[in-house]
C-alpha cells in the first residue's frame, strides 16, 4: 500500500493545505460562536454552556435566566446544556476552533488549562472596565494574578453519617477524630450483610475522588499538599492522611469495588444504607431525601487528626463561570455574570442549589430548606474552604497520577512512601 500510495500522498497533502486554509479563514473571520447582532447596543444573544440547569429543580434556572432578559431587553441568554461527563471534552474541542460559547460554566480544575489555551478571557480587565467591585466576591480563581473564573455557587463536602446505622453499631456520637472514625467504621462494618463503614470512589475516568475523599482528610487537619506552589507530597501530614486511608482499607471497612467506584455509586450506596459514612457534596441532600425520604442522616465536620485543634479545611467544589476569549460581546457577557453574582439572585440560586453563595453579601435562606443546610453553614464558617486543586495546571491529570499510586498502595503493590515519592516526581514534572 505504501509503495503505491505516492500519488495519494500528493493528493492528500494538497487537500490538507486546502483544509488548513479554510480553517484559518474561518478562525480569522471571528468564529463568533453563532451569536447574532454584532453592532454595539443592538440586540445580543449570549450562549451559556453549563450543566447546572439539570441539577436544579425543573424550570428554576430558566426562570432566573428569563428574569435577566426582562431586566436587559436587548440581551437574550440561550442555555446550552451538555452531559456533565462530556462537558470538558466539548469545551476543549470547541476552544480549539474558537467556537466556545460566549459564557461557560467551569470547574475550578479546568481553569488553568483553558486560560493557557487562550480559550477563556481575563475577567480582571472586564471588572475594571465595568467598574465592578471584586471585594464582594467570596473567591476568584486566578492564573498569573488574573481572574479567569468566578465561583457562582460553592458546594462544601462535609461528612455524611447514617444515624440509624451508627446507633445499630453502638456508636453513640458522630466521630470527630480519625481514631473515632476508624472505630466507628469498624463497628458499622461489623453489622454484617453488605454494610460497610465508608465509601471511597477511585474510578479513574473522573478521578476527583482524590480531591473529595482522600485529600479532604489532609485539609481537614490543616495540612497542605503544596508548598510555595510546588508539590510537597513527602511531608508528614500527607503521609499520615494516606496512611489513614490505607488503614481504613486494611481494616476492611471500605465498601468493595472502590477502585472503579464513581461518585454516583457512593451516593447510591449511602442512600440505600449500604455505607454508614461518606464525604459528600451538600448538594446531594435533596437527592438523598428524594430517593429515600425516611433515611435518618446528618452532616458533620470532617474528622481531624487526633489532638488537632486548629481550623478545619473543608473541601468544596464550585459552579464557576467564565467568559470566552473569542466572544464579541464581552461587555454583555460580563453583565450577565454580574447578574448571577448579584446579591439577591446569587442568594436565590444558592438556596435552590443547596450551595453557598459566591457573593459574600448574599444571604442564602438558611431556614427555608433543610436544617442540615444550616449545620453545614456553621461548619463552613468555623473552618475554611480548601481545595488545592483549583487553578492548578492539568489538575485532572494530577489527580489521576495520585489515584494510580493510591490504587497501588491499596492493592499492596507499593508502600505509602514509594507511592508518594513517585507521585511527587510526576507532579513536579507538571507544576514543579
Amino acid at each position: 500500500m505504501a509503495v503505491r500510495a505516492t500519488r495519494w500522498k500528493r493528493l492528500m497533502s494538497a487537500a490538507a493545505v486546502a483544509a488548513t486554509l479554510a480553517l484559518t479563514a474561518a478562525c480569522g473571520s471571528g468564529g463568533s460562536s453563532g451569536s447574532d447582532g454584532a453592532a454595539a447596543g443592538g440586540p445580543v444573544t449570549l450562549e451559556f454552556a453549563q450543566w447546572w440547569g439539570a441539577e436544579l429543580p425543573a424550570g428554576e434556572f430558566d426562570k432566573i435566566i428569563s428574569d435577566f432578559t426582562a431586566q436587559n431587553p436587548n440581551i437574550t441568554v440561550k442555555l446550552l446544556s451538555a452531559p456533565y461527563a462530556s462537558t470538558k471534552q466539548q469545551l476543549v474541542t470547541s476552544a480549539a476552533s474558537q467556537t466556545l460559547p460566549d459564557v461557560v460554566g467551569l470547574d475550578g480544575a479546568w481553569v488553568n488549562d483553558f486560560a493557557k489555551q487562550g480559550a477563556i478571557t481575563d475577567l480582571s480587565t472586564l471588572m475594571t472596565e465595568a467598574n465592578y467591585d471584586p471585594s464582594q466576591l467570596a473567591s476568584q480563581v486566578q492564573v498569573a494574578d488574573k481572574t479567569y473564573m468566578i465561583p457562582v455557587v460553592n458546594f462544601v463536602y462535609p461528612l455524611f453519617v447514617n444515624k440509624d446505622l451508627l446507633a445499630k453499631a453502638g456508636v453513640t456520637s458522630v466521630p470527630t477524630t480519625r481514631t473515632q472514625f476508624l472505630d466507628a467504621a469498624k463497628k458499622i462494618s461489623a453489622i454484617g450483610g453488605d454494610v460497610k463503614g465508608w465509601a471511597l470512589p477511585l474510578d479513574s475516568a473522573v478521578p476527583n475522588g482524590v480531591q473529595n475523599d482522600v485529600m479532604s482528610w489532609l485539609w481537614a487537619s490543616g495540612g497542605s499538599m503544596l508548598q510555595d506552589g510546588k508539590p510537597n507530597l513527602s511531608s508528614a501530614p500527607v503521609k499520615s492522611a494516606v496512611e489513614f486511608v490505607k488503614n481504613l482499607n486494611d481494616a476492611g471497612v471500605i465498601a468493595p469495588g472502590s477502585l472503579t467506584m464513581k461518585e454516583q455509586d457512593k451516593v447510591e450506596k449511602f442512600t440505600n444504607g449500604q455505607v454508614g459514612m461518606m464525604i459528600d457534596s451538600l448538594a446531594h441532600i435533596n437527592l438523598i431525601k428524594k430517593n429515600k425520604p425516611d433515611l435518618n442522616f446528618e452532616v458533620a465536620a470532617l474528622p481531624a487528626e487526633d489532638g488537632y485543634t486548629g481550623e478545619r479545611g473543608i473541601p468544596y467544589a464550585s459552579w464557576g463561570i467564565g467568559i470566552s476569549d473569542s466572544t464579541e460581546h464581552k461587555a454583555e457577557a460580563f453583565k450577565f455574570v454580574q447578574y448571577l453574582l448579584g446579591k439577591d439572585v446569587n442568594a436565590k440560586l444558592s438556596t435552590i442549589a443547596n450551595g453557598f453563595p459566591g457573593n459574600k453579601n448574599a444571604a442564602p435562606d438558611l431556614n427555608a430548606g433543610d436544617p442540615r443546610f444550616k449545620t453545614a453553614f456553621d461548619i463552613y464558617q468555623q473552618g475554611y474552604p480548601a481545595n488545592e486543586f483549583v487553578g492548578l495546571p492539568k489538575s485532572e491529570d494530577l489527580m489521576r497520577r495520585f489515584n494510580e499510586q493510591l490504587q497501588l498502595v491499596l492493592t499492596g503493590g507499593a508502600s505509602v512512601d514509594d507511592a508518594l515519592a513517585t507521585t511527587q516526581q510526576s507532579w513536579s514534572a507538571v507544576i514543579g
Binding site: A22, S81, S97, V267
Partner: protein, 285 residues
C-alpha cells in the same frame, strides 16, 4: 431390526432436539437477562435501583419514567432528530455506496485497488483521535449544529462497510444481466437502475438496516457536532440523564427501551429479507 433402528433414530432425534432447545434457552438467558434487568429498572423508583437484595419488581413499580419521557417535548425532539438523521444517512449511504459498489464490481480501472484499500482503511482510524481536527473542519464548512453536518459525518462511518457489502452483493449477480441491457443500446447507468437495483433489493435492505443502527446509536460525533438540544439525538438524550452527581436510572432505561423499539420494528419488518440479503452478499464477501 429395522424397528429398533427407527426407534434409535427417533430417540437420537428427540435427544438432539432437546439439546438444541436447551442450548437455545441458555443462550437466550445470556442475551436476554440483562435486557430484562433494564426493563425492570425502568419501572422502579430511583431509590430502589440499588436495593439489596435485588428485586425484579419492587413496590414502587410504575410507568412514570415512560410517561415523563413521552410527555417531554425536548425528549421527543431527540427521537425526531434521530429518525431524521438515521433515515437520511441510510438513504444517502445506500445511494452513494451503490454507485461505488457498481464501479468496483463492474469496471476495471487504474488505482482500483488503491482506492479500495483507502476506503477500507479509513474505517480503522479511532474516531476519538479525530475529534479535534474534525470539529474544526465541520465548523469551517459551516456544518456545525446542522442536520447535514451530522448526516455527512455518519455517512463517513457507514460508507466503507456499505460499499464492501454492496460490491460483494453485486459480484454475485451474473454479468450477462447488464450486458444484455448494453446490447439493447442501454448505458451502464440504465443497466444499473433498470436491472441490477430491482434484483438487489434484499441486499440493499440488509445494508440499510445495518446503516440505520450505526447512525441511530452513534454518540461521540452526535454530541460534538451539535450545540443545542433541538439538534441532538437519542443517545445524547440518554447521556443527559446522567448528571454530575446522580443518574435518572429509570428514565435512562425507559429511554433506551423506547429507543430500541424502532430498530426492533425495522428488524421484524425486514428480518426475512435482511437475512436473505446478507446471504447473497455474504457468501462471496
Amino acid at each position: 431390526m429395522t424397528g429398533m433402528a427407527k426407534t434409535r433414530i427417533k430417540t437420537r432425534h428427540t435427544l438432539a432436539k432437546a439439546g438444541v432447545i436447551t442450548g437455545l434457552v441458555i443462550g437466550g438467558l445470556f442475551a436476554g437477562l440483562p435486557i430484562v434487568w433494564m426493563l425492570s429498572t425502568s419501572f422502579k423508583s430511583n431509590g430502589d435501583v440499588f436495593q439489596n437484595p435485588p428485586n425484579l419488581i419492587t413496590d414502587t413499580f410504575s410507568l412514570d419514567a415512560y410517561l415523563e419521557i413521552l410527555g417531554n417535548g425536548e425528549q421527543l425532539r431527540f427521537f425526531l432528530n434521530s429518525y431524521i438523521v438515521a433515515f437520511a444517512v441510510t438513504i444517502l449511504t445506500l445511494l452513494v455506496a451503490l454507485l461505488a459498489g457498481y464501479a468496483f464490481s463492474r469496471f476495471r480501472f487504474p488505482f482500483q485497488r488503491t482506492i479500495n484499500a483507502v476506503i477500507v482503511s479509513v474505517q480503522v482510524v479511532p474516531p476519538i483521535t479525530l475529534v479535534v481536527p474534525y470539529f474544526g473542519l465541520v465548523v469551517a464548512l459551516g456544518l456545525y449544529n446542522t442536520y447535514p453536518g451530522l448526516i455527512l459525518t455518519h455517512m463517513v462511518f457507514t460508507l466503507p462497510y456499505a460499499i464492501i457489502m454492496i460490491t460483494a452483493y453485486l459480484n454475485t449477480l451474473p454479468r450477462e444481466l447488464d450486458e444484455s441491457v448494453k446490447i439493447d443500446g442501454g448505458t451502464s447507468w440504465t443497466a444499473l437502475w433498470r436491472v441490477l437495483v430491482p434484483i438487489s433489493v434484499p441486499g440493499l435492505i440488509a445494508v440499510g438496516v445495518y446503516t440505520f443502527m450505526i447512525s441511530w446509536n452513534e454518540y461521540l460525533f452526535a454530541l460534538t457536532l451539535t450545540r443545542t438540544n433541538d439538534m441532538r439525538t437519542v443517545p445524547i438524550g440518554i447521556q443527559l440523564l446522567m448528571g454530575q452527581h446522580s443518574y435518572e436510572w429509570n428514565q435512562m432505561m425507559a429511554m433506551s427501551i423506547l429507543g430500541s423499539i424502532p430498530v426492533l420494528l425495522l428488524f421484524l419488518l425486514f428480518q426475512r429479507r435482511f437475512i436473505g440479503g446478507l446471504t447473497a452478499g455474504a457468501v462471496k464477501a
